[in-house]
Symmetry: C2
């Protein structure tokens, strides 16, 4: 049988946790999906369609047991921005573009799987990701303020322009919508904070607390809907509502083939695939680690690919694992992907039966849900810590943050990646090089600048704390030849290789040059503490023949004492 392994090993004891988690996640997911759909500029049903098949397909191919797949904030933002750039307004075309984007995202993830490119996310460093997520969260939150206060603001404004518009146009805002929006925000805050604390004090069962405090978005949606319905706010005060959602499960349809559209969407799809993969894998890893489970990066690519392709075929848009939802799933006790399947069934049930209830759901309430979902992502804590640990990296974070905020997501991430690689190369191109001497009468040799040590005026012992490769060969040569020029009395140099894990061709050439120049200057080069794998590669080279086995030592101490004895 080709059943996923978790089915074969399923135990009935796991059922309770899966059931509770599945229900709670559905309660969180339904209003959140619709809100993210709004953020992406798509009808609510598109977002709900993205929360049925993708969840089920992921459980068949992905490796995480608790990752909650569905629409997520940053990808909704990127989808919205990508579609806005196409300049189309016909709603069918917009939906087709969203489906196509999901299809391309799925295909790219599949190609990444085929090329085993799972490790590509390694090049997104922590400061870059943190700066990018914080800036995206601010953009998402700002984009919702207009719904909260009922303003019509042109799409696609830069955040600083959006702020100016909102502030200057606030007096023209829609009073009733604003009251609804602000009340929704307050209700959400009350559920997350005061209510949860109250229940804790009353010693409620932790699962009940989770259930109740996570129902905030649902209660806000229900309350908002009821208020609009009873007071006819949509007709009397023109409060924006979700409106008609076609009832029933999604149909399976292939997006229209449109080569022009494919080309236009491709760059965004690449980035959406990368970000979705990054987000999902980080969440999945963090949960798996806590239960001594493993996440297979390549299986994740396959799972996410299947989720996105199925989203495309069932009328949805790009999906990934959501942080908040997955945490709810994990902490509510989900033991297996069955929890996710239960969630998907509940969303399907909602689509089949409950869509008429969403007609009066005010958009202001959904915007409040989004704002509450993304605010925790604004990460000043990491900035503070990074600033204290390494100012260069904190600057990198700020550059990424500001570029995403003031230019766009693509430029921000690209700038961040290029700068972080540049920084690393710069660091490793100027390795720490120490002249060492003997500590007392021990066999230890330490930096002459940090310790009181004995040195021999004819022998210079040099320790290089980095692999030798093309970018630091010149630095190494300059330093060694500089030390030679500064120490005219030396006849021997001992190069200590304990921190050198590989030597590339450029560095090998450089070592040969150093050897040659030292010979011309009547200085003998010696090597000490070469690691096994490095020696394996060196042993057949001309360099090693030229230097001679008698000049290669196991330890620094052995080198120094042997050289002193040879005099």
């Amino acid at each position: 049988m080709l059943l996923p392994s978790w089915i074969k090993t399923y135990q009935t004891a796991q059922l309770k946790g899966d059931l509770i988690a599945g229900v709670i996640v559905a309660i969180v997911l339904i209003p959140q999906s619709m809100a993210y759909g709004l953020l992406a500029g798509l009808p609510a049903e598109v977002a709900l369609y993205s929360s049925v098949l993708p969840i089920i397909l992921y459980t068949a191919f992905g490796s995480s047991r608790t990752l909650a797949i569905g629409p997520v904030g940053i990808m909704s933002l990127m989808t919205g921005a990508t579609i806005a750039e196409l300049g189309i307004s016909n709603i069918d075309e917009v939906i087709n573009a969203a489906n196509t984007l999901a299809l391309l995202t799925g295909i790219i993830l599949l190609l990444m799987r085929a090329a085993r490119l799972g490790s590509i996310i390694n090049f997104l460093s922590h400061p870059v990701v943190s700066g990018f997520i914080s800036a995206s969260a601010i953009i998402i939150a700002l984009s919702q303020v207009k719904h909260i206060v009922g303003l019509n603001i042109t799409e696609g404004l830069a955040p600083y322009q959006a702020i100016t518009h909102i502030v200057t146009q606030l007096p023209q805002g829609h009073l009733v919508t604003s009251i609804l929006g602000v009340c929704s925000l307050m209700l959400l805050w009350w559920f997350k904070g005061p209510l949860a604390n109250l229940l804790k004090k009353r010693a409620f069962n932790p699962n009940s607390i989770k259930f109740i405090s996570n129902s905030g978005p649902l209660i806000v949606a229900v309350t908002g809907t009821l208020v609009v319905y009873y007071f006819h706010l949509n007709t009397r005060f023109e409060v924006s509502v979700v409106g008609y959602i076609p009832p029933g499960l999604p149909h399976i349809i292939l997006p229209n083939y449109d080569e022009q559209l494919f080309k236009q969407l491709l760059p965004s799809a690449l980035l959406i695939a990368l970000i979705g993969y990054l987000e999902s894998v980080s969440i999945a890893k963090s949960m798996a680690g806590q239960k001594r489970q493993k996440i297979d990066a390549n299986k994740e690519l396959l799972g996410l690919s299947a989720a996105n392709v199925s989203s495309a075929l069932s009328g949805g848009y790009p999906v990934a694992g959501g942080f908040g939802r997955s945490m709810v799933n994990f902490t509510a006790g989900a033991n297996s992907p069955l929890a996710s399947i239960i969630t998907a069934c509940l969303v399907g049930l909602t689509l089949s039966v409950l869509t008429p209830l969403f007609f009066f759901l005010p958009k202001a309430a959904l915007s409040a849900v989004i704002i509450f979902a993304v605010l925790p992502l604004i990460d000043t804590h990491t900035l503070k810590h990074t600033w204290r640990y390494d100012r260069t990296e904190a600057t990198l974070m700020l550059i990424t943050f500001l570029t995403v905020l003031f230019i766009n997501v693509e430029s921000g991430i690209l700038a961040g990646i290029i700068i972080s690689i540049g920084l690393y190369l710069h660091r490793s191109s100027q390795p720490h090089i120490a002249v060492v001497g003997q500590v007392g009468n021990s066999e230890h040799y330490r930096n002459i600048k940090r310790y009181k040590v004995k040195t021999d005026k004819e022998i210079l012992a040099i320790r290089v704390d980095e692999n030798l490769y093309f970018a630091n060969t010149n630095y190494l040569e300059d330093n060694i030849m500089g030390l030679v020029a500064d120490n005219q009395s030396i006849n021997h140099i001992v190069l200590i290789c304990q921190s050198i894990s590989f030597i590339d061709t450029s560095a090998l050439q450089s070592l040969s040059d150093i050897l040659y120049r030292l010979e011309k200057a009547n200085i003998q080069l010696h090597l000490a503490e070469i690691k096994g794998p490095v020696m394996d590669k060196l042993k057949d080279t001309e360099f090693l023949k030229k230097i001679g086995t008698e000049n290669i030592f196991l330890s620094t101490h052995q080198a120094i004492t042997t050289l002193q004895a040879r005099r």
Copy 2:
């Protein structure tokens, strides 16, 4: 006084070496310059103008005592290609473009100096440079074959096209020119090989041998000129000759200011500046090292900048330090920049008095000189050695070589740089991670896969042989969590940090995550052998507070024994 330091310390004993070297270099330089001018598609006088002022200005600002500045092969090739792309045929415009290119090159070098970007050449790895030089040498040699056999072949053909053309059109070649060309090649070969050996056997003075064998190009030029002159080959058989060279020293004129031209030339000027700088610094370093002298990369930038700007102002084209010439200068005994000044004066004298003699100099002889100058640059030796040492790097070399040969110099170098950085990142993103155990009863801990060692089933000691940074944090996490999943009996992990010279923010976050996950799995993390500079940065972090000072050990042995005692 602002005189260069070498003047203040000049000793009369140095004069003889400088005089001899200065004269020999002039003998090599004059025909070589004219040949390189031909390669660049420029009149002979432009190349000679590039060999007067630039040499003198370099001695005032550069740091090498023996670098021989002037036209060089690869830069002439690049200059020729750049000007050909402009699609101009008026000779005055061509010369103005060459002057402008030299000016831009000089300005770029000055800006690099101002930004202290001397270390930028570090990113040209040895395989990339070697592949690029070999391919360039082949292109240069091939470009001269048409002059040798007297064929008219369209400029700007890819090398494989040029070969096809030459082979198919050989029967239409010019017989008299071919005879001249082939005789020139044979004469040059005889001077370099058989004659030098003969003189050595006769126990001639080494300086005389150098003088005579290096006169090959001069003798070829003189003989060729005499033959053409006596037999009227230029009028009777239409043999191409250098023709009229305006007598006299160059005038100082600023190139025309033409913004459009500046923009067109800028990308090439950037690359020419980079390559010229790379070539000069490598040669200067290799010579300085042999005499325990230092080369200052930033002074070199200034010296080369001055040389190029003065070349531009005196009607020349981009210049750099030439390998062959500098070696001639160095081995002929040049002690100071005075040798270069003597060379410059001799070129100046030639321009003032001897230009009428060059009228009948056949271009075929000059092409023979170029071919002999560049053939030694085709570097199969390095390819062979690199292949044996590291196949990936040998492949990189071949990619660079083929891209330069079949596309162009710019693409080849760019591809080489990007691939070599990618390779390095790939390498360091998958560091060597070893589980270690105790060797016998010693305090040494070695890889359990390489040595017979004792391990403790509750304690896992892991050594990571690389700095921890963003590109390898996932690899580290996966490996550690993988080892945890494979060793369900462990309660302690000791991370041995002897090869870790820095930990960036991403890696710090990753270590915190690992610590957190291990705690959830009831495993305590310990650190051993942290280096001083790493500890300095870590000591104020939350990570170190969370791990606790009692879990940080000086040595691996101390860690293991303490943990065993605590049980």
